[in-house]
Symmetry: C2
Subunit: 395 residues, 2 copies
């Protein structure tokens, strides 16, 4: 806590006026970038992995564990917190950081993706989206203005503009209309953001690029957003069912369009092969439920590939999950015990597995940053690709 | 870890030969006893609360947290571990302590209670009990001999004799037959125990007194078991539906029959009003799922009474659950956050609630021991009874 609070005042002096969140590039290696995000709540080293804490909790972890694991920023969801407990309640309690007792930076997703993926019924009106809560079926209406008000109430360090996540497949015509809607919404978000004074409190606003699988539409979306001058740019609407080659093409194409002095965030993508591709293209930030959700489903990442912990052969295996891993789980418990806990759906299974997978991910990102720093990212990428591919279907 | 391992060698010297588990009385206050259980894995202060770790895990906790909370012994279940992963697997892995990485003492329940409460079908034959697994419906046959073999494989510090848990209501005739069966089974358990050499490895064996609500049958059961000379005596078959007054009568009556130099264990009872009654009667050991199960259901113990964390009024309550509590949960999180986690059925809810309730219970037992040590147990009992009763129906 103390460290983060001190960072706040120091950072303020370094940054001076302007955005609450600033990107500082340290080194590039090809298109890959090593850098730092300076925020009032501390520095985030990039490329950064952002653990997902949908309901103001990274599932199965407590906040001290996240800090000890080296998480420098976490993500929470506007959609979920708006529905429960409500942004008014969190605002009254002093904001999201105080509410969940997390002193580090928080990024809040705008709710665009969740409205489209979770709500049983939704209707886009130009003003916003009418949807039904996945919790109780109640009807709600999200607009760019409300989304900004919610994120201001939460007091996140990085807020996201409200967008429509274009599905796949989508016709060129649909994708164009969708990105035009996203642009209009982005403009309204920007307007509210500039007026509501949260920038002065250290909050930054990112725009989200849409355009489906159409390079020229991605270009149009990027250009329209860049003209509005956001603190960072996210690439949304990927990994929604399109082939990997197409996804990679759009990532590489779009990232090249982005200004060098701003942050680049690839939303919702965390397959490490995709991460390697995207970091190679120049992406700085990633969020994904993969390490945490896989952990709860018994799929664990190791230095030699993925493992399904439920395999019969582990029943009497007294070895740690990964002898090369220094995490709490690997230092204290055997594969046999982890398998036993998983087979019994014990809470400790989810805890130990999540802790391990997050450690693995955060460690992978650290090694990746080292590689960029040493200008050996391509070597790292080739080595890791072999390991990841060799074992990807083992589980 | 290191502390426990050192305790092992020191204790061996102190105890010399004989039982692996020895009771040392420090002080009495009325019938209440302050004492210590000396085991090869450390000292347990009595009256002791034993957190329940059915499947070789105290639900939601890790083993370091249990140790930090001050748990000096935990309980695991023979029935559950026999079914999954199997005692042979655990034996192969070096025993239960190594399997779950818990260096402190472990008590294993014999499975008698679980066969009767969990199995969808069971049939008592004189040799043992045929039952169906609650997990997959497979048929098994537990005998006193097998139960001792399982507990030897697990390597628990305190093993329990196989018993029939007499239900309530039960006719005098049924209760008599049932206790006679329990006595025959206890004899067979003792015989196997003496022959299998686990006493030399530090294991102790407790007999379980049955007899339902019939004082003279409790007396008969106690006398028959005492004649066999067990390392400790448990009172079983209570809190199975009988009125509290009857339960208290049986506890007081039975405890008075037990030898002073042996441990007295009241099985499965953990309502703190009952605990106060039983400690006043001279009981040394308690196990109960109440703090852990209640925690997962959102019922939390505080210094002013029980609280249901889901209450609407806590939605914007930034105060800790119990301002007088020094546990991790109360030091770090608000009632509003605990309520939010509970409403979302988040894993962290179960963790923080369980940690708090176990802290409360272990702390309550510590204060109770202090009171006996100061010969002020009756005063403590009266004070606590008022608090516990005043708030018991608040949630």
């Amino acid at each position: 806590m103390v460290i983060w609070r001190q960072a706040k005042s120091n950072e303020s002096k370094i940054r001076g006026q302007g955005s609450g969140v600033e990107y500082k590039n340290i080194k590039t290696d090809g298109n890959a970038r090593l850098g730092q995000i300076h925020t009032q709540r501390g520095v985030i080293n990039t490329p950064a992995f952002i653990p997902v804490g949908t309901n103001a909790t990274v599932k199965a972890m407590n906040q001290d564990e996240l800090k000890e694991l080296g998480a420098e920023i976490i993500l929470s969801n506007t959609y979920h917190l708006y529905l429960r407990p409500g942004h008014e309640a969190i605002k009254k309690l002093g904001g999201l950081h105080k509410f969940m007792n997390w002193q580090g930076p928080i990024l809040t997703d705008s709710g665009g993706f969740q409205v489209f993926s979770l709500s049983p019924l939704r209707k886009i009106i130009n003003d916003g989206v009418e949807f039904r809560s996945h919790l109780d079926g109640s009807t709600h209406f999200l607009t760019p203005e409300l989304v900004m008000e919610i994120q201001a109430g939460l007091g996140s360090d990085i807020a996201m503009a409200f967008d429509e996540c274009t599905p796949y497949p989508a016709s060129r015509e649909y994708a164009l209309k969708s990105l035009e809607l996203t642009t209009r919404w982005a403009k309204r978000c920007k307007k509210v953001f500039e007026g509501q004074g949260t920038r002065d409190k250290g909050q930054a606003l990112f725009g989200i690029i849409q355009g489906g699988i159409y390079p020229e539409l991605r270009k149009q979306s990027a250009e329209e957003l860049i003209e509005m001058d956001f603190d960072g740019y996210a690439i949304g609407g990927l990994s929604v069912g399109e082939p990997k080659e197409l996804m990679y093409e759009i990532i590489n194409h779009t990232t090249l369009l982005l200004p060098e002095n701003r942050l680049r965030y690839l939303m919702g993508i965390g397959d490490l092969l995709d991460v390697l591709e995207a970091v190679g293209a120049g992406i700085d930030m990633f969020d994904c439920v993969m390490p945490t959700r896989n952990a709860r489903n018994g799929t664990l990442f190791t230095s030699t590939g993925r493992i399904s912990i439920k395999r019969e052969e582990f029943k009497t295996d007294s070895n740690p999950l990964d002898p090369n891993c220094a995490c709490y789980t690997c230092k204290n418990y055997s594969k046999a015990y982890l398998r036993h806990l998983f087979m019994n759906r014990e809470i400790l299974s989810m805890r130990l597995n999540t802790l391990h997978n997050l450690y693995f991910y955060l460690n992978f990102f650290e090694k990746m940053r080292e590689a960029i720093g040493n200008r050996s990212f391509e070597k790292f990428r080739k080595e890791q690709t072999v390991i990841l591919k060799n074992n990807f279907h083992e589980g």
